[in-house]
């Protein structure tokens, strides 16, 4: 039937189905993106009526903003550590919760719950834990590591961010891994067992290759999410102690909205966007190449 329709009718059909979604996509993604790129060439401060075209000056400033590059470096480090811990924990949990242990449904729901709490609230909960509960715990068990709040020391505040991120995302990634585990045909595993393969060999040679799609998705999600972290950063450490855990997104926010330097903030956001896009796409490309067809 499709072939018989005239071009105009086809266009109408297309508009009818995809039009509304396209319209909103253009309005809330494309237009702001283009306008945002335009803003990077101006000296706009966010309020003023004056908006002068200043060419590439903002980008020159971005490359001189050492604090931005430091926060970007910190974000890369944070993302690298958190992605590894999140995925290891998630994979381990998924492995356990598909091995038919008791109460696995309850446990799955339990591990997933942190993901339902917003980053801001989650940050405040953990801030209370780190700054109050653990410090009080020191009075009872006397572990030196709990003597002072983790959030007031540079390295431990970073560790706290990683721990909370892992706790927040591993439940979600676990679900994806579970679906990966469940999707592996049992006959492959049984056949391998009959051939005398150990559990470790089965995981390495059969489960992992067949779960490549899940791994690619989980890595993609966790990389992009941890790179863009803002809410948790704000509510847990607020960039502290003394600005040492200020991630790139937070730095960009304060550039644009606290220092009223929209142009530079926007230019930094664009640089940041390009970096995330390159990393995420490269990772997906490499991962896809390793996927195995069943």
């Amino acid at each position: 039937m499709w072939g018989k329709l005239k071009a105009r009718q086809k266009a109408l059909y297309y508009l009818g189905f995809a039009g509304p979604a396209m319209l909103f996509f253009i309005m809330v993604v494309l237009v702001p993106l283009v306008y945002g790129v335009y803003l990077t060439f101006t000296d706009w401060n966010g309020i003023s009526l004056d908006m002068n075209f200043i060419g590439l000056e903002n980008y020159r400033q971005v490359f001189h903003d050492t604090v931005f590059w430091r926060s970007l470096g910190l974000t890369v480090l944070y993302s690298a550590v958190a992605v590894v811990t999140t995925n290891l924990v998630a994979f381990g949990l998924a492995y356990l919760l598909t091995s038919k242990i008791k109460g696995q449904n309850l446990l799955r729901a339990g591990f997933f719950t942190p993901n339902l709490i917003g980053g801001i609230i989650l940050g405040y909960i953990w801030q209370f834990l780190f700054s109050r509960v653990l410090v009080n715990l020191y009075d009872y068990i006397g572990l030196e590591i709990f003597r002072r709040s983790w959030l007031s020391s540079t390295g431990l505040a970073f560790a706290a961010l990683v721990i909370v991120t892992t706790w927040q995302y591993s439940g979600y990634m676990m679900l994806i891994y579970i679906s990966g585990f469940v999707g592996i045909p049992q006959d492959f595993i049984e056949a391998a067992r009959i051939d005398g393969a150990t559990d470790g060999m089965i995981t390495r040679r059969i489960r992992l290759p067949l779960m490549m799609p899940s791994i690619v998705i989980c890595l993609f999600l966790s990389i992009t999410r941890t790179f863009k972290v803002y809410d948790l950063n704000l509510s847990l450490t607020e960039g502290g102690p003394y600005g040492t855990t200020k991630m790139a997104a937070m730095h960009i926010f304060s550039k644009a909205f606290e220092e009223y330097r929209y142009g530079i903030g926007q230019a930094e956001a664009l640089v940041f966007f390009v970096i995330i896009a390159v990393i995420a796409l490269t990772q997906t490309y490499i991962g896809k190449k390793r996927e195995v067809e069943m």
């Binding site: 003023s48 410090v135 002072r148 007031s152 102690p241 909205f257």
Partner: protein, 441 residues
């Protein structure tokens, strides 16, 4: 599954109905109507709708009450919108062509909006009562009406100090660092191990302490700007500056006797309030704005007050830092003639009408910049501040820092308080900043 869905939908729906019911109830609640004051203006024949953006969240309820009273008197419907980020919100509202008719903002926004988007208020009747001095002016014209006067200072618990000392506590006796040090040591000897409370927040521990260095240069805005320009031109440095070293001698004393000294950057604002209120410590380095957060912990029968920053042989010794911290501006881009008039009437009403003054002083609980208002402030911190103002014992607060001053320097000061940065390093960071920046006049 379907059943569950329908139950959920019904729950959702009923919550909307409840919500709608709730809000219409508050809207139709009877409001006391004050009398039309001819000095303010005539009652509008048709209801005028205007909006008010408030960036001082602790007074939103009071403003809503005031707006309703003014509205019912003059037939104006004022919608109060709250924000904690005035710069961001006002930029968004202007960008969408829906600017608030009246906005309570910080000085940075007045500066940006003046001359293009907000009304020149120089000819308003309240200007002569202090609006001229404390208002925000650009090119000699008043664009921002001063909403409140605040002071960064030392809050104290008089009751606990007197209990420990066994004699009357007279704040005027402890204005120099030497006197204050003796007092602190006396309190320590009497059993209060750590009499001082320092905050941990970047604005409180990082940004404000640095401002004391500017404020006490010679007590005037001009003097502070002259000093910063000297640093900018390389004529002097912070390390060579006497006031810088005096202020940091005092701060060192605070840091030494800080109740949070084991872990200064983990201090909690509410806990700090309770320490002072309940007498665990005697002094809180903060400001008069702390009252709304402090009040829930205040102990019945305990007396509280404010002290100037202790400093040795300085012309500002014994004087408190005073600054007008929020300004009210009126839009001229999106507002119609009538709306602009209603907005100006509301501002006049707050200052000139007794019902408006009641809202400002008793409901919003602020210290006003206007000399015609004779109502006394309502809380101990503000009462203390009013006394210093009346006695002329004030120095100018710092309002000339570029917008990135806090984000760049506050972390360095926090690190200093945590013992991670030396005084010389801090002085260098300040030099570097001011060599690259000029104060905004």
């Amino acid at each position: 599954m379907k059943k569950l869905l329908s139950v959920l939908l019904i729950a959702l729906l009923s919550s909307f109905v409840l919500y709608a019911g709730g809000s219409s109830e508050t809207a139709s609640a009877p409001v006391a109507t004050a009398e039309v004051n001819p000095a303010i203006g005539e009652r509008f024949a048709q209801t005028v709708n205007i909006s008010l953006m408030n960036s001082k969240p602790e007074i939103t309820d009071a403003l809503e009450e005031g707006a309703a009273l003014f509205g019912s008197t003059y037939n104006v419907n004022i919608e109060v919108v709250e924000t904690d980020n005035p710069g961001l919100t006002i930029a968004q509202r202007y960008a969408s062509g829906d600017a608030p008719t009246i906005a309570i903002v910080d000085s940075a926004q007045v500066k940006e909006l003046a001359g293009q988007r907000i009304a020149d208020l120089s000819n308003e009747p309240w200007v002569e009562y202090g609006g001229d001095v404390m208002g925000y002016k650009v090119d000699g014209k008043v664009y921002g009406m001063p909403l409140t006067i605040e002071s960064m200072c030392i809050l104290y618990n008089k009751t606990v100090i007197e209990d420990l000392l066994g004699r009357e506590f007279v704040p005027a006796d402890y204005t120099s660092l030497d006197q204050f040090t003796a007092l602190v040591e006396e309190l320590v000897a009497a059993g209060m191990e750590t009499p001082v409370i320092l905050c941990s927040e970047d604005w409180a521990l990082g940004h404000k302490p640095i401002q004391y260095v500017y404020d006490y240069q010679d007590g005037t805005k001009a003097g502070a700007i002259a000093f910063l320009k000297d640093v900018h031109d390389g004529n002097t440095t912070f390390e060579d500056n006497k006031v810088f070293n005096d202020v940091y001698d005092t701060l060192d004393l605070f840091i030494k006797y800080n109740i949070n000294r084991d872990d200064p950057l983990a201090a909690d604002y509410d806990l700090n309030a309770s320490y002072l209120a309940e007498g665990d410590a005697a002094f809180w380095v903060n400001g008069t704005w702390a009252w709304p957060d402090f009040e829930p912990y205040a102990v019945e029968g305990s007396e509280y007050g404010i002290l100037p920053f202790p400093i040795n042989d300085n012309p500002g010794q014994g004087k408190v830092v005073v600054d007008s911290t929020k300004y009210i501006v009126a839009d001229i881009i999106n507002a119609s003639e009538e709306q602009q008039q209603a907005a100006k009437m509301f501002l006049n009403w707050l200052v000139l009408d007794s019902a408006g003054q009641d809202v400002l002083i008793n409901k919003c609980q602020i210290v006003t910049a206007f000399s015609n208002i004779t109502l006394p402030p309502t809380n101990p911190f503000n009462l203390g501040l009013q006394e210093y103002i009346n006695a002329g014992m004030t120095v100018d607060g710092a309002s000339y820092m570029p917008s990135d001053h806090r984000t760049v320097l506050a972390p360095v000061m926090q690190a200093y308080a945590a013992g991670e940065v030396s005084r010389a390093e801090l002085a260098t960071a300040l030099d570097d900043y001011w060599k690259a920046n000029l104060p905004i006049e």
